[in-house]
Structure formats: structure tokens, C-alpha cells
Amino acid sequence: MEHTPKDPSQVLGWGVDADPKNDPTYPMKHRTDGEHAGYSWGRPPRQPPTVEVLHSIERSDLTSAFGTSTPPSGASGALRRFAFQYSESSYGHWLPLMLADRVGVAEGVLNDLKNGRVPNVLAERGWKAEWKHDRTGLVRRILVRGILFSAAVAYFRGKSTDSR
């Protein structure tokens, strides 16, 4: 409580944007009732598609501008094309996209290797920064994961010995 100004009006700028009418309706929307006149507008010129761009089935075509980063490719691309057969309201859209993202990670590693580059996962994860600023936490995390991994290996080795 000690940091609460006793008199809020002493806070620099207090009340300069107060708006008693903002309570609550659609203040963020400049109401033009344009919808009632129909949903059409002079569309900006269309960006020519130079790469494959997927679009939501909830709209009829591409937007006038769009990003061209990382077009779909490989197995992850096939999953993305499949996902875009479903609406944004469907898990059939989002779950395949999440799966495609994970497949894409594996494809990324393979592509790196194909290009003669072994990904430096520790550097990519920023462990240098963690070593500098939170060495104890990093060591603890490695130890905990090492112990859990060793325990799992020991458990499954034991199971496979029992089954023989």
C-alpha cells in the first residue's frame, strides 16, 4: 500500500484521458454503420503470388497483400495443405498445423545437415546467456533432466530383463 499515491491526482497526467462516456459500448470503433451499406470497398491492388500461399476457407481469395516467408514444403507442407481444407473454427485446422510445426522442426534439422551444417542447439537455445546469468539454475536443470533420463533408462532396461 505504501506505493499507492495518497492523492491520485498528484500522479503526472492523472485524468488527462478520462472519458465518462466510455462505459461500455464500442468506443474503439468509429461507428459509420458502413456494414449496413454493404461489405465492399475499393480493394488495394493485388500482390502477385510468387510462392504458394494458403488461404483460409472462410474467405474467397487471397488478401491484397500477404507474406511470402517460408512457403509450405515437404511433409510439413502437405500437412498444412490438409489443414487449410478446414475452417478456423475446427480442430481439423489447428491440430494438423501444430503437428506440421513439429515435423517442420525435424525437416529443419535435416536441411541443415544436408547443407553441411550441424545445428548448434546449445547456442540456439541461448545457453551462453544462461551460463552467464543463471549458472546454478542451468546446472540444476541439466542434473534433474540427467537423473530423470537415467532413471527412465534404468527402468526400461529392468523391464526388458524381466520379460526375458
Partner: protein, 384 residues
């Protein structure tokens, strides 16, 4: 050019990529001078936003110098130093015409639920972002604004997202004079939202989080009360107890999908990714606000269903208000506030990190190392 390159959850690196080209008559190519890492970039970094593709460059908070313009660009000129709002807006569709620049219908073919955003997955349009030396800026005459003479570029870069998002969070709260406002989250947006709540006449501002150094910062910067929810048995009971059992007038969710504080939400939303994030802050906001109160949501969630007490929204008569900030709409007022000294955004910046060290920058911000509040990436040309 150098550009951040996403390689998978928790893995990013700096790579060489081709300099972007003009692809649309209304495009500009901008040489980046500042680029922040946003709390919402961490949703991408953690792999929780669908259609985040390996190879993409993130970054939706940046400033830069215009290097090239398309034949349809009339206002911006080569050499202009601009701040570029995170929303990509055409300025002509029915939504842009209504001031809803965060909901443009002509910038994102992949999803109708969100407009285009720089470097924010293909779910937000598939644009490469500003954590690079150069970036393509579509509809260049619509949203980008020339940085006013004398304005610190560190202030300008925070006007692209943090300040407008925080200001709109307070604005959507419909704060009335004397209201008690609770902000969940002491990240850059939460701290700034607490600061902005005063501008709307709040009588009391409370911030809830679990990171001590950020709570300390909020107490002096906002200035406000700030509490660690780990020291409160139940933050909802605490808020009720301190508001005569009624609840706050306005609650703001400035956390979104990465919230801590509930094992169930963490498992469902952050580990298994079967819902659009861990909605603990939103859950607390709904339950902490008074009957007939307002919950303002600026925290980012994924597009799938998320576990929140919607029955309480009905039974308490709560108004939920949410949107991506309409940066273009808010910029004139916010530039005024910065120029008049009412808002001091650059004070949030704790780390200026070379773009080449982007992997470490993400780690520092995501793991909250070295008392980091807001990191800014500096491309080589901006450091010379």
C-alpha cells in the same frame, strides 16, 4: 542481410537471408534501427502459436529508415526514419475505415480472425518481421509514422506496440474516475497499462505478478501497489478482501498464454498445448472483477478453445473487451504524451543487445535473467 531465424521451440539463431524486395506497389523496404523482443514473441518462441514455420524471422516492434518505396507509395520518402506499428493495415477495408486497424481484412489470407502482423507466424499473415537488418513494410502509406524530430528512437520503438497496447487495455477498461484497476502481469505491457490507468482517472491501481524485480519496477514506475501472487493464498480472495468484498471495477489481463499460477492451466495450455494457452490470469481477472465490471484482455492467446469460467461472466454481468491494439488510431495521442513527458516508455528498456546475439537475447527475456524487462535488438548499422 542478418536476420533472426526460428529453428523450433526455444531455438533461434542469426543467419544470412536475402534482402527483402518490393512485392506490392504500396510496399516499402526499411532498414531496421531498433527491434524489440515482445512478450508475445515468446508464444512463438515456445512453439505455442500454430503455423509457426521453421525459417521465419520474428519481430513486430521496430523502427527503421526507408530505403526503397514501391510506385504506389506517396507519403513516405526514402530516408524517412519511421516507427512501424505492429499491425499491417490496408486503410481501405470496412474494418480499417472504422478505426479497427488491428483487424484489417486485406493483410492476412491465412486467417480471418486476426489481421496481418509482422513476424508473427503464418496465422498472422506469413510476413517476415523486423528482427533483421531489413524488412518489407506493406501498405507503407497507411500505418508507419515518421518519428517526430527530437524523439528518442528508444521511445519511438515502444510506440509500435507496448505503449498503444497498454493504453488501449486501460481504454477498453472504461475506467471511470476513482475506479480500482487490477492489472494481471508485470511485463512491459502490464507495467505500462498500470501507468496508463492513472491517465484515465483511476483511484487505485494494483499489479499482480510473481517476478519480484518486475513488481519492484512497477511500484516505482507506474506508481502502484504490486503483489506477488505466490505470497497471497489466493489472489482473487485478496482482491475481494481489499475491495470490501465487491471486487475491482476493472481487471486487465496483460499476461496471455504463458501465465503461471495454476498447474492445470500450465499442463493444458503450455505443456500439452491442447488449449490456446494457460489462461490463469484471465481466470483470475474474471473472478476478481466486481459484478457488472469490465475485464479488458490484451494478453495474447492461441486460436483454439481455452478453459475460462465463462459462467461467471454471465452470472456477474461482466463486460469482456479485447482486441489487438489499433496502433494507428492511438499514435497521435501517445506521441503527444511522450513529447509532453507524461509517458516515459524508454525507461522500460533494460537491455540493448546486438542483433547477432539474438539467441541469448531470447533466452535472457524468456527466462527473465539479469532483471530483464524489455530487450531491444540493435542491428550492426544502428550501432555504428
Amino acid at each position: 542481410m542478418l536476420a533472426m531465424n526460428y529453428r523450433g521451440p526455444h531455438r533461434v539463431r542469426i543467419d544470412h537471408k536475402p534482402v527483402p524486395e518490393i512485392l506490392h506497389p504500396q510496399d516499402a523496404i526499411v532498414r531496421v534501427t531498433r527491434s524489440c523482443i515482445c512478450g508475445s514473441d515468446l508464444h512463438l518462441y515456445n512453439g505455442s502459436v500454430p503455423d509457426t514455420r521453421v525459417g521465419m524471422t520474428f519481430g513486430h516492434e521496430f523502427t527503421g529508415v526507408v530505403e526503397q518505396v514501391g510506385p504506389g507509395v506517396e507519403k513516405l520518402k526514402v530516408g524517412d526514419h519511421v516507427l512501424v506499428p505492429f499491425n499491417i493495415a490496408c486503410g481501405t477495408c470496412v474494418f480499417c475505415q472504422q478505426g479497427l486497424y488491428g483487424n484489417c481484412h486485406e493483410s492476412n489470407p491465412q486467417a480471418t480472425a486476426v489481421g496481418g502482423i509482422y513476424g508473427y507466424s503464418h496465422t498472422a499473415g506469413g510476413y517476415d518481421g523486423g528482427q533483421a537488418e531489413y524488412v518489407r513494410v506493406p501498405y507503407a502509406d497507411v500505418s508507419p509514422a515518421v518519428i517526430p524530430e527530437g524523439m528518442d528512437p528508444d521511445d519511438a520503438v515502444l510506440l509500435t506496440d507496448v505503449v498503444p497496447t497498454a493504453f488501449q487495455a486501460a481504454e477498453m477498461g472504461g475506467i471511470q474516475t476513482g475506479d480500482t484497476v487490477v492489472v494481471f502481469g508485470a511485463g512491459p505491457v502490464g507495467i505500462m497499462a498500470a501507468r496508463c490507468a492513472w491517465l484515465f482517472g483511476a483511484g487505485r491501481v494494483i499489479v499482480i505478478d510473481c517476478v519480484d524485480y518486475r513488481l519492484d519496477f512497477a511500484r516505482t514506475y507506474a506508481p502502484c501497489e504490486a503483489y506477488d501472487f505466490r505470497s497471497l493464498e489466493d489472489p482473487v480472495v485478496f482482491i475481494k478482501g481489499t475491495t470490501e468484498s465487491l471486487g475491482a471495477d476493472v481487471c486487465i489481463d496483460a499476461v496471455g498464454a504463458e501465465a503461471a499460477g495454476s498447474a492445470l492451466q500450465t499442463v493444458l495450455g503450455r505443456k500439452l498445448l491442447v488449449q490456446g494457452g494457460s489462461a490463469t490470469a484471465l481466470h483470475w481477472a474474471i473472478n476478481s472483477v466486481k459484478k457488472g465490471g469490465i475485464v479488458s484482455i490484451v494478453g495474447v492467446y492461441g486460436p483454439v478453445g481455452t478453459h475460462v469460467p465463462i459462467g461467471n461472466v454471465v452470472n456477474k454481468g461482466i463486460t469482456l473487451r479485447a482486441n489487438q491494439a489499433s496502433v494507428k488510431r492511438l499514435l497521435p495521442r501517445l506521441i503527444e504524451h511522450v513529447q509532453n513527458g507524461i509517458l516515459d516508455p524508454k525507461a522500460l528498456i533494460t537491455h540493448r543487445i546486438p542483433l547477432e546475439d539474438v539467441s541469448d537475447a531470447y533466452r535472457i527475456f524468456s527466462a527473465k535473467l539479469d532483471d530483464c524487462i524489455k530487450p531491444v535488438l540493435m542491428p550492426p548499422s544502428a550501432r555504428s
